[in-house]
């Protein structure tokens, strides 16, 4: 069996090698942007079309989920978490078109570089949201919770959970792809179909989990500041 982690080179732009992952990422990005533009141009207040209803339902659902996790107005978080969810969701499902577009279209999220980049975005978003919403000093003090000895452990946990976020998405999607690939080689008829259904479920759930975990991480830093403030008020 070929190495499923090896990049598939498609063509070169000068010295830059363009892999299949990059092209599929472009297609996914283009599809999402086109959908958004189409909905934007056909926005109607009196009689919303199908696409507008899908978009509004998705936005409502995202707001509701974010509000349930962070316990505060969801507006500042929805753009980041919603984009992460949409991109990962569409990428995970992009491999389902492979029978029509060629034998082996791997989703971009089955490449460790994509998921590492997405996890880095979350890693950077935690301090940015923490500083913007609670103030620099208050955010930095959360690293000394519950006592100052915990400082190295808090820093370590930030790094390790970022690695876990990247590896979890990558491993789940790649394992589903490998499973389908092996079954296609052994029994090409019908048997891979249930596993492709399983791939659909895994892809959706993993996109949800990535978005939920990123909002839990971002909300966690803010919640710690608020809880500390409440404790101080009680003791005063």
């Amino acid at each position: 069996m070929d190495n499923p982690m090896a990049p598939i080179e498609l063509f070169r732009l000068g010295p830059v090698i363009i892999n299949q992952v990059v092209v599929v990422t472009w297609v996914v990005m283009g599809a999402i942007v086109l959908f958004a533009l189409w909905v934007r141009l056909h926005l109607r207040r009196d009689k919303p079309g199908r696409a507008q209803q899908v978009a509004e339902g998705l936005l409502d659902w995202l707001r509701q989920e974010v509000r349930a996790i962070v316990d505060r107005p969801p507006e500042p978080f929805v753009p980041l978490v919603g984009s992460l969810f949409l991109f990962i969701f569409v990428s995970n499902l992009s491999s389902q078109v492979s029978p029509f577009a060629g034998p082996n279209v791997m989703p971009p999220t089955a490449d460790i570089n994509t998921t590492a980049a997405l996890a880095t975005v979350v890693f950077l978003a935690v301090p940015v949201y923490g500083v913007l919403l609670t103030g620099t000093l208050n955010y930095l003090k959360t690293y000394l919770q519950p006592v100052w000895i915990m400082l190295p452990f808090n820093v370590m946990s930030e790094v390790s959970r970022t690695v876990a976020l990247a590896v979890r998405l990558f491993g789940n999607i790649l394992s589903a792809e490998i499973l389908i690939g092996v079954l296609l080689a052994i029994v090409p008829f019908f048997l891979p179909v249930p596993l492709m259904f399983l791939g659909l479920i895994t892809g959706t759930i993993q996109a949800y989990i990535f978005a939920a975990l990123s909002i839990v991480y971002i909300g966690g830093a803010i919640k710690m500041v608020e809880q500390r403030g409440q404790k101080k008020e009680e003791s005063a």
Binding site: A68, R168, G171, S175
Partner: protein, 90 residues
Amino acid sequence: MSLEMIAIVVAGLTVAIGAIGPALGEGRAAAAALDAMARQPDIAGSITRTLFVCLAMIESTAIYCLLVSMLLLFKVGPLFEQAQAAGSTP
């Protein structure tokens, strides 16, 4: 037995043994969540949301095992083979 064969056997063992713990843990977590949902159906939504996050956390240990076994199969194993072909044992 060449070093690459050892790498393949160890890769199989990694997934086989590494899947036991997360399987038991996820079973317990799901059972506890179902129990809680049966007792308090009103907060089933919030339990489901927390359950998904918890399952993802538990599952990640199994994913690490999968990753290690894939590294053994596709990165380390071929390295051993190349080193043996070059005449030096790593």
